[in-house]
Homo-oligomer: 207 residues x 2
């Protein structure tokens, strides 16, 4: 702990008072380490606070929930709960299109897709990163979306949607195969929305 003030002093903006550590930054650094070591489900606000040498109340004060600590630590461009609501709201017959539209708007912008690409890249190389991504995606994105469906296989349905969207993101924005990469957003939404809608609400073959 004796080296913490020194670590904080490096990279501090000019004019900051000596001795005032970057508490928020320390918490985020501790959070990244805790999520990497224990996965999303295993990491706790208390554990992050202990690793950062602060009181858990301070973590709550800065971020609120564990989901929001994760969003800040991974520099995600939005809090999932803030966007899943827009997909859920409205008739279920239009949910496929709303989901496609949200995805294209997030992944169409290099700044907002970058952190998701970084998470997927980590998951491709590290078992624990894959676990962390799985738990976070499941808890913060898939479960809220599945909660509005009534079919008993609703989790599988949302995951099939996720599989189409993850692949669309890689093919269109990373690998950039043509003509898919240059197709207009509206065309891509029109092409993919029926796939998502089928996964969400159509009759699917059982196991």
């Amino acid at each position: 702990m004796s080296s913490q003030p020194l670590r904080s002093r490096r990279g501090r903006p000019p004019g900051r008072r000596p001795g005032a550590p970057d508490t928020r930054g320390e918490i985020l650094a501790a959070a990244r380490a805790q999520f990497a070591a224990h996965g999303y489900d295993g990491a706790t606000i208390r554990g992050i606070a202990t690793a950062a040498g602060v009181d858990p109340a301070l973590v709550h004060h800065y971020f609120g929930t564990k989901e929001r600590v994760f969003v800040a630590a991974m520099e995600l461009p939005f809090v999932p709960a803030d966007v899943t609501g827009a997909v859920i709201a409205g008739d279920q017959g239009g949910m496929g299109e709303r989901l496609a539209r949200l995805f294209v708007s997030v992944w169409g912008n290099p700044v907002t897709r970058a952190p998701f690409l970084a998470l997927i890249r980590s998951a491709l190389g590290h078992e624990m990163a894959a676990t962390m991504l799985r738990q976070f995606v499941r808890g913060a994105l898939l479960s809220p979306l599945a909660s509005v469906l009534t079919a008993p296989d609703r989790e599988l349905r949302i995951e099939l949607c996720a599989s189409q969207l993850i692949g669309l993101g890689l093919a269109r924005y990373v690998i950039r195969i043509e003509p898919l990469a240059s197709a207009s957003d509206e065309e891509v939404i029109a092409l993919v929305a029926p796939t998502l809608q089928r996964y969400l609400t159509a009759h699917l073959p059982g196991p």
Copy 2:
């Protein structure tokens, strides 16, 4: 070039004659460097031969085509032309299922999916690796499959299939979201084949 015999001597199996360089290995190392530097389309048999210090005829002798040099250099588990034929053969109404079945059989085995994951991981981090993967996927996988379709938007159709399959691979075998990861191969094929079939042959909304 004076260091080649020394480099080759390391890692040589016991009993190999001194002075006989690992020509095949030298060619593959040169090929990896050439593909990385110039992309799949930009690399040539001649350029690979020059970099390896051998005659182009020797590269042809060992590997035949540039596609096969790439397959060997990237340690891909099969030559794409050998498997696309099985998807193309037969009625077009069953092509979606044959494509899903091929994909699950390749990605269901950790050994055969590993090199593809490595390619995707590189593409996520390096612009030239993304270019290389795009050019190879397009030339070796997508174009042969598209060639049997008659619709004017056949390339887009195949790429939509690719987007579903890449995402299925990541969601099921890397991120491993449940219940998708534990669903049986037959169930996954039955769920995804109609999506692929729609992309391949159904009426799609135009641009």
